[in-house]
């Protein structure tokens, strides 16, 4: 079965629809829903898995917030669930485990797989007019490589010494001397890497090779550009992390000393070999993990661009500058990793170089922000739930982007490095930015995925509460950072310098507890709408994108016609048609009402 769709796909998109239908009928439940080769099922598998891990990551965050608000007090209800054994009290080793695993789960099991795995898989073939991915079997494997990672990380909570406690950055030498959990963490990370690599090879090939007739690169929606650039970043950066992961494993298991200085001792253990350099880990780790920061935001930027244009009923402002700035972020993204290491002991002259490249990477982000504002200017904005989430992405990304300039300024970074200013910055980018964009994307593409719409009013309630509360949780972190409040301290109030910040932390923690609780609204709305949501047609939002021309939900092979593409995805409010949208597949009118000729249908939109 596996070779047939692949062979079909390589010839041309959607030519062998009949063949696919046969498969759909003969497939067993296991083949259809579990070991499926269909990109849509794989996308949904990623979506459901990541949503469950999102919940786990949120619970871990609550443990952190409890400890910061009420240090050493037993945590009610959740305490024992997040690993505190002694009647709910969180001991310091559990606290360091919580900060480590919260970040690990959110980054590697939620944000990266939900963007590339869930939305990438689901949307790429639909948006470019292909019947499936270029390599369906590889695609299935990319999901199933996540499971051993889930098992490795999930089981690490139960091994002797608990899950990894070295921070999500796994800095050597601490990580080399840490307990069993750290080995499982490294194995889990490597498996996630394999999954991402399989996915990225597939995405690049699919986007380059399998576009429908007429779908030129510059007619691709921004979502696809975001996915494409992300895939390129992953393909080039991931091998470094994988290699570094194996070196760290080898240091731990076979007594090598890549990341250990001569005569290294820690945690009452002595290393068998030395002569290595702890900073080497940081260089290798950030060489991947800085591009990974963009892997975690570029697809979200793409999806937000699509949603903003659709509900502004107006073409995306500056399509090409948007594409070029994506490429600019990707290119510069490879030469800024050192800004995580300004105070690490790296040569300060090198720090200055990284400072300049870091300042420059703010530029493409600024260009994108201005273009989003330009998209909304002069439109007819419809404040649907996805639109509100998309606008909040722009609003929050401004905060997260601007706070980055403080850290890029090396002298300021001396003080705010490893303080809550950093925590504020990346939560504004990753939670208030990416996670909000993902929420918006779920509301936006849910009708396509399940043929039903989610409840818009409850969606707005969910948005309102999430938006207000997330700002209450994360905005005061800037102020904490100005007060030099450090990250990852189980009891910061132990220092007189930070004792007066307890009331702010208590306020933030209570907002965090409520923030997590109100996600119930989303969960209920999601599950209810899966079964009882009002049915919708192919194009409930009157959007232009190709995916909206397929049935909702699309069947095996996606399109029930051969898509032909005549224009870009953002032709809203075009004077050539009566309605305010102009789908990419709609042939140009024989003679346009404005009298303009259409003799050049391939003209760039």
């Amino acid at each position: 079965m596996s070779t047939v769709p692949a062979a079909d796909s390589q010839t041309n998109a959607g030519k062998a629809l009949a063949g696919h239908d046969e498969h759909a009928h003969t497939s067993s439940f296991l083949k259809t829903y579990v070991f499926s080769l269909d990109h849509k099922i794989i996308g949904l598998q990623f979506l459901f898995s990541t949503l469950i891990w999102f919940l786990v990551g949120g619970m871990l965050a609550l443990g952190i917030r409890w400890q910061l608000a009420y240090p050493w007090r037993p945590m009610p209800i959740l305490g024992e669930l997040v690993g505190a054994a002694e009647g709910g009290q969180i001991p310091p080793e559990v606290y360091t485990m919580l900060v480590t695993m919260h970040a690990t789960v959110m980054i590697f099991f939620v944000i990266i797989p939900v963007l590339a795995g869930a939305f990438g898989n689901y949307l790429i073939p639909l948006m470019i007019g292909a019947d499936d991915m270029a390599f369906p079997t590889l695609n299935m494997l990319s999901y199933w490589f996540m499971w051993p990672a889930f098992v490795a990380i999930g089981s690490s909570f139960f091994v002797d010494g608990g899950a990894a406690q070295g921070g999500w950055t796994n800095y050597a030498p601490l990580s080399i001397f840490a307990g069993q959990g750290q080995t499982l963490w490294l194995i889990g990370l490597t498996l996630v890497g394999i999954s991402s690599m399989l996915g990225s090879v597939n995405y690049m090939t699919t986007i380059i090779q399998m576009r429908a007739p007429g779908m030129t690169m510059f007619r691709l929606p921004m979502t696809i550009w975001g996915m494409f650039v992300t895939a390129v970043l992953q393909a080039f950066a991931l091998p470094v992390l994988t290699a570094a992961g194996f070196m760290a494993l080898s240091d731990r298991l076979f007594g090598t000393g890549f990341f250990l200085a001569e005569g290294a001792t820690a945690n009452n253990a002595i290393a068998q070999a030395g002569g290595g350099q702890p900073l080497l880990w940081q260089h290798l780790f950030w060489f991947y993990s800085h591009p990974a920061v963009y892997i975690m935001i570029l697809p979200a930027m793409g999806m937000v661009s699509d949603i903003l244009s659709c509900f502004s009923r107006k073409p995306l402002f500056g399509y090409k500058p948007m594409v070029y700035s994506l490429a600019g972020i990707a290119g510069l993204g490879f030469i800024v990793w050192g800004h995580h290491m300004f105070v690490s002991g790296m040569n300060p002259a090198l720090g200055m170089t990284f400072m300049v490249s870091t300042m420059m990477i703010a530029l493409p982000s600024a260009i994108k922000t201005f273009n989003w504002l330009g998209t909304m200017w002069g439109g007819k904005l419809q404040f649907t739930t996805p639109m509100l989430f998309a606008i909040s992405f722009v609003s929050m990304f401004i905060i997260g982007g601007l706070s980055g300039i403080f850290m890029a300024a090396t002298p300021v970074d001396i003080v705010i490095h490893d303080t809550y200013f950093i925590v504020a910055h990346f939560h504004y980018v990753l939670f208030a930015g990416t996670a909000m964009a993902v929420m918006g994307a779920i509301y936006f593409w849910f009708p396509k995925m399940f043929g039903r719409t989610m409840n818009d009013s409850w969606g707005k309630v969910h948005f309102l509460l999430t938006f207000v509360l997330l700002n209450c949780v994360f905005y005061p972190m800037h102020i904490l950072g100005m007060n030099d409040f450090p990250r990852r301290l189980a009891d910061p109030y132990h220092y007189g310098t930070f004792r007066h910040l307890l009331p702010i932390n208590q306020f933030m923690s209570w907002c965090a507890f409520i923030l997590v609780s109100v996600q119930i609204i989303f969960v209920v709305n999601f599950i209810w709408s899966l079964f009882f949501g009002p049915r919708c047609g192919r194009n409930p939002w009157h959007a232009n994108g190709l995916e909206w021309q397929a049935p909702s939900p699309p069947g095996h092979g996606n399109f029930d016609f051969q898509p032909m593409i005549y224009r870009g995805p953002y032709e809203y409010g075009s004077p050539e048609v009566e309605v305010d949208y102009y789908p990419q597949t709609q042939p140009p009118a024989a003679s346009s009402p404005s009298g303009e000729s259409n003799e050049n249908p391939t003209k760039e939109a």
Partner: protein
């Protein structure tokens, strides 16, 4: 969907509601920073000290604080303008209130040029503006002998002062493990910092200094303290389960007091016998 919003009342206040919600972002954003330093005055029962930068007792600290404030003002202005525009567009172009035809525009080349060049110049300016402060803090080490060697270890800071010979690693060195670092004010001091096991970070909030310490690698840190007093030394790099309690204190004293303190340490060392060591 917008079609469902047929209710007349909803049409009137809901659009404004959402734009006003987003207007709250710059208002509360600016208000938070404006209010923070006064929280101590407003509610002294909750905020025992001003919620702002920790007190600065270094000669170079003002450069860093000023740079922070400069960037805060600059980004603050950009923040208010962009968030303000976002609010204005949401207010003005809401589908039900905007009766005009949509602006069928794919972009503007001249606008792109403007909003590329202005941020580029600004960012380059910040980049060049700060270089000197960075070089002063991390690159221009003074040519003086180290006054103390600081060693981070799980979970304590050890301090080793050179003895009367003014040279480290000789038999007359004084090693203190009691977590109290004494240094003179009013003169430039050079610290040699390193680690005995894992990464730590030697963080002095009141002196605006931070440097990760790395096993197998000695680094220099230098500063001039301006005021006597006692302040926290914080470990700012995760170093294990006891990271949170890896606390020490820096005692900034006058030169004569510093000499006297070292003399006292020396006496203590000379009278110490093996039997004095605490039994496990």
């Amino acid at each position: 969907m917008s079609e469902s919003q047929t209710n007349e009342q909803q049409r009137k206040w809901l659009p404004n509601f959402w734009s006003v919600l987003f207007l709250m972002v710059p208002i509360f954003g600016v208000a938070t920073f404006a209010l923070a330093p006064y929280l101590n005055d407003i509610a002294p029962a909750y905020f025992k000290r001003p919620v702002w930068f920790p007190k600065d007792v270094s000669e170079h600290g003002y450069v860093i604080d000023n740079l922070f404030m400069f960037i805060l003002w600059l980004t603050g202005i950009v923040f208010v303008i962009t968030e303000g525009l976002l609010f204005y567009f949401m207010w003005k172009y809401e589908a039900n209130t905007n009766t005009k035809k949509v602006a069928y525009s794919h972009g503007s080349h001249s606008l792109e040029v403007v909003w590329t060049i202005i941020p580029a110049v600004t960012l380059l300016f910040i980049a060049i503006y700060q270089m000197d402060a960075w070089a002063a803090a991390k690159m221009r080490a003074p040519d003086i002998p180290p006054i103390v060697e600081v060693t981070g270890r799980q979970f304590n800071w050890d301090f080793r002062y050179p003895g009367p010979d003014n040279e480290l690693y000789t038999s007359d060195d004084i090693v203190r493990t009691d977590g109290r670092l004494y240094l003179p004010v009013g003169e430039e001091v050079l610290l040699r910092i390193t680690s005995a096991d894992v990464l730590h970070s030697f963080f002095l909030p009141n002196l605006r200094l931070k440097q990760d310490v790395i096993p197998g690698m000695a680094q220099n840190m230098w500063f001039t303290a301006t005021e006597t007093g006692e302040y926290d030394i914080v470990c700012a790099e995760l170093c294990g389960w006891g990271h949170y309690k890896m606390k020490a204190r820096i005692h900034l004293v006058t030169r004569p007091q510093f000499e006297a303190q070292l003399e006292e340490f020396r006496k203590e060392k000379n009278t110490m016998r093996v039997a004095d060591r605490p039994q496990d």
